[in-house]
Point group: C2
Chain length 175, copies 2
Amino acid sequence: MILARLILGLLTLAPMTGYDLKKHFDSSINHFWNADKAQIYRTLNKLVEDGLAVVRVVPQENYPDRQEHHITDAGRAALAAWLNTGLDAEPVREPFLARLFFSGELERENVMRLLRARRSEVTDRLEEYRAQRAGLGDVSGYDRRAYLMAATLEREVGRTEAELKWLRSVERSMP
Amino acid sequence: MILARLILGLLTLAPMTGYDLKKHFDSSINHFWNADKAQIYRTLNKLVEDGLAVVRVVPQENYPDRQEHHITDAGRAALAAWLNTGLDAEPVREPFLARLFFSGELERENVMRLLRARRSEVTDRLEEYRAQRAGLGDVSGYDRRAYLMAATLEREVGRTEAELKWLRSVERSMP
DNA sequence: CGTGGTTAGGCGACGAATCACCTAGTAGGT
DNA sequence: ACCTACTAGGTGATTCGTCGCCTAACCACG
């Protein structure tokens, strides 16, 4: 359901193929969502079935035809309707914390290894976010649309920094 | 899969019924996981099938029998094996950011309403976490097990504070 | 006396998501 | 000549998760 909305949102930026969408999920919006390619193609089919998008086949030389999906007026309306509904409850899922919570029986060194592995991962992620942010340039002076897109990235930067700080503190003071 | 591990982890703390487990997911570990009760019961059955847990029926007066699930040695081994594997990739899913990212076409006031609703929710959550933390008392001087359990909560406090800070900044400077 | 919450366990249907695999041509590197 | 990656689009199986519903007795409130 939410994947359908996200795809509609991306289609407002430009008409796209399933392949294009997958690339967006893997790069530009990877800080807040990801999706399996099989699921993207299935969801696109459903959007077309429901009249929220239409396909235009664009033949290419030397490459497979592009099945460009264009959002329809009904699609734009469905997207707007979603954006104006109240916030829904978000399921909490933190696999790393799930591990750490039960790691008390492990030897101290093994827990430290876990924490260091996590820190390395989180540091890399932070680097990626910062590189992405640098690619956006100066946000002030942007319109609301660009501002909000940059803001979502900023939120992840902030929360990732908070985790790094926490990780260092745990590594320092764990008994 | 991960749910099975979490349940095994909880069963190391004490033998539990599906009902008990559900309460834990809703309270003590709600800062990093939640689970549907139907799924909990199904997973418990699978654990028993796989020999990772055994059931002991405890009859009660005036109340339904308790089907206490006890972790077995095989279960403890499976849990330890999981805890010693490398970190696996975590899927990113931030429904709120997904909305905000595409909210650029909304009127400014509607976006502000969204941000304020979020801030109210996040503030409540932070209060809950802090109350839970207060209930744990002083962490220093604890053993590693208790320390790590408290630390997972601390991580969420930190990241929630980071989001609040970010929310206030966005509310202040959104064009 | 009825209503709603607690304890305890469950089923069935559906939808969402993942995993592995497949087609098929182009292009670049070793 | 071979291997890998990129472009583009899928299928099928299976698992995971949610939603709604059901049984059944107890307890407290008004």
